[in-house]
């Protein structure tokens, strides 16, 4: 079969199967909106907390107002005891509890170090850290004020007291995601996963479909074409289809969700090439192994979970058991996530990321050879 005829056949096979077009274009477009959807507000705000004010002084009421004024939390209600607060907390589904102890104001004046207690619902980690940020932020502002006041009382000048209230000024900066937004955190990696998984799924469906046809006795062009030629045409076609889709995600998509982009255009394309080739070879292998097309969906879906959580952008690589990271390193999406995040989100230097890039090409080689061997074996049968 000539190269041209093969290309025509592949092109027709892809477009003649609505489910492939639906998976590739429909999936890529729909998931583009679906997966960032829960997080579009970026950070949780105004988490409701209940306050137990056992002090009732002017100062403690000021603390209440300061807490309420933070963007992270709002005072939903008051309780008279810790037990009552606990009940309200569960009944009203609140996020935190602030306890101001008895004689808070008096103890502060007397220098007895009163203790403020902050409780948050650690069933939801993001909510917990948000609540803590709000409560502890307000608390430490109050403490700093108290300290400055005391220094003023002991005779220091205000500017000096304001400057000297802490032995160390900490300038804590969030880099690469300055607002610590959740879309900025999730979307860049999830987009790479979506592109990879829909590509693999599309090829899995195509391969499964051919296998079904073959079982029914139809002779498909896959068996007639030379193995290497078929592999090149098939992976080339899907790479060509996905290149604009990558551009859509990394360009328009990032713009749409206001996600920072730092990568150089040329370097980004140098990453897209091995990413798409690797995914296409991987998908071709999957397609050759599946007896029926509908099995591709569940396999791709189940595999997404360890891939997302094992890739290192949620749970640190240092904490992931070595055997798991050793295995998933050879799925093209894993080095791709590191590469895309490193270049585009963190503005990393291509030279320093070179080992990861080589690993992407290793995936291309690995699955390219495997697909070729599988195609040859199929022909000999």
């Amino acid at each position: 079969m000539t190269l041209l005829a093969l290309m025509r056949n592949e092109w027709r096979a892809v477009w003649a199967t609505p489910i492939i077009g639906l998976t590739v274009f429909g999936g890529v477009l729909f998931y583009f909106f679906l997966y960032p959807l829960p997080y579009v507000k970026q950070v949780p705000r105004d988490q409701p907390v209940v306050v137990v004010n056992l002090d009732g002084s002017q100062l403690s009421r000021r603390l209440e107002r300061m807490v309420d004024a933070t963007p992270q939390v709002k005072l939903a209600c008051r309780a008279h005891s810790i037990e009552a607060a606990r009940d309200i907390f569960i009944r009203e589904k609140l996020a935190g509890i602030l306890v101001i102890p008895e004689h808070f104001y008096r103890d502060l004046l007397l220098g007895r170090r009163p203790t403020l207690s902050y409780a948050g619902d650690a069933s939801y980690f993001l909510v917990f850290s948000t609540v803590l940020e709000g409560l502890a932020g307000a608390g430490s502002t109050l403490a700093a004020e108290a300290k400055i006041n005391r220094m003023l009382v002991s005779g220091q000048a205000l500017p000096l007291a304001a400057e000297r209230h802490s032995a160390l000024e900490l300038n804590l900066r969030s880099v690469f995601n300055p607002t610590a937004g959740y879309v900025n955190y999730v979307a860049p990696a999830i987009f790479v996963v979506i592109l990879h998984q829909t590509l693999v799924l599309g090829l899995g469906i195509l391969g499964g479909l051919e296998n079904e046809a073959r079982r029914d006795g139809e002779r498909a062009y896959r068996q007639e074409a030379a193995s290497l030629k078929l592999l090149v045409v098939r992976t080339g076609l899907f790479t060509a289809i996905y290149w604009p889709l990558c551009m859509f995600y990394l360009g328009f998509g990032f713009q749409f969700y206001a996600i920072p982009r730092h990568a150089d255009f040329l370097e980004l394309n140098m990453v897209i090439l091995p990413f798409l080739l690797g995914a296409a070879c991987f998908g071709t292998c999957l397609g050759l192994l599946l007896p029926r097309r509908e099995l591709a969906g569940p396999i791709v879906m189940f595999s997404s979970m360890p891939l997302v959580f094992g890739s290192g952008f949620i749970w640190p690589l240092e904490a992931i058991p070595a055997p798991i990271s050793a295995i998933i390193q050879y799925i093209p999406v894993i080095p791709a996530i590191r590469m895309f995040l490193g270049l585009n989100q963190m503005g990393g230097d291509f030279g320093m990321l070179l080992p990861v890039w080589k690993q992407m090409w290793l995936c291309v080689a690995l699955y390219g050879v495997l697909a070729w061997v599988l195609l040859r074996m199929e022909k000999q049968r």
Binding site: I19, L22, G27, L37, P38, Y39, K41, V43, G111, R113, P114, T115, L116, Y118, A119, G120, A122, S123, Y124, F125, L126, S129, L132, G139, A143, A146, K147, E163, S166, A167, L168, E169, L170, L172, R173, S174, F176, N177, P178, A180, N184, Y185, R292, G297, P298, M301, S304, M305, F313, I314, W315, P316, E318, P321, I324, L341, Q345, M346, G348, D349
Partner: protein
Amino acid sequence: MKPSSTHLLRREVDDLVGDPWLLSLVTWVPLLLAFTMWWIFSQGIATELPVGVVDLDKSRTSRALVRHFEASPSLKMDDTFLAVPQAISALKAGHIYGLVILPRGLEEQTLRGRPPRVTVFSNGQFLLTQKVINAAVLQAQGTYTATVETVWNLASVTPVLDGALSAALPVANQTVPLFNAAKNYTQFLVSAILPAIWQMMMGIGPILSLSAVHRKHTLSGWLGGTPVRALLAKMVFLTALFWLHGLFSLTVMYGGLGWPMHGDWSLLLVAQLMTAWASTGAACLIFLLTRDAARSISIAVVLVASALAFMGVTFPVSDMPLAARIWRSLIPICHYIEIQISQANYGAPVEMAIPQLAALGLLLLPGLVALALAPRFAGPGRARSGEAAA
């Protein structure tokens, strides 16, 4: 001739055992996946996160400060960087998650009582590690300043240690992580991931099962003369099977792994039964409407694969936009997980679960619709009676 219940049950068992893919889906696949996910998070707490230090002061004070950072189990300080640019590129390459820059003149300023400004960069692209690092850095700063200022105050304000400490830190604070005291990530996330895997299995299983009979006997032939009974048998069988899976995962979480369970077991079991029926019913309805394995699987995958993101465990439901809340209300497990958390973690009163139970109640309907539609797709009982004869 009406097929007997035992016959229908046997047929279901045969269907399950006869299809290796379906059998895998309800046996080793979820088990392996659940184990893998548990293993990934088994460390529970992120520790020893690499953080770079550039010490431009190289004094006793700066080294003391680095030791305060080193004392935190969350951090692993890497002080091999000689200059800021070198450390920044390591941060960009992801070799370190954070960077502490100790300025020149740190010791001198501290001795003169002028607070030096220490800059800490933390990588916000890795939100979880960033939160761990920030908390550790703030804590280290707290202990460091308390030590330094107490010494200052002993010299200048009061010779009494308590007084000096209170002048340094006038307010003490105490943080209480409720319902997950150790802030264990395994307990937090895996208790949501297991139900998410369960939901995936329940969304796919019925479709694989129906498509297997469709392939063998055609759907109409399989539904035969008693379509409602045939479909009901499959739905009841699969619901019961999935219920067992749910029970098993609860046993593992709250028995085997020993996570606290403060609530009502019977309520959890009822909620699981409803979730299993709702998922089975919806999957069957999707298959009946498309009568095509690939298409119905695609629809089911779109719904169930997104379950974890929409559960509201990683990001609060109250901060999701309306469209996201509508989408999640279609997924049975999103209602179930709220019951599981409020029961297991809070030990909340049973009546708190009424809204979720009501939502699950509504989601029982697709299954009933599927049963009502079954006769439409039934044909002459050719294939089924042939099977009964054999």
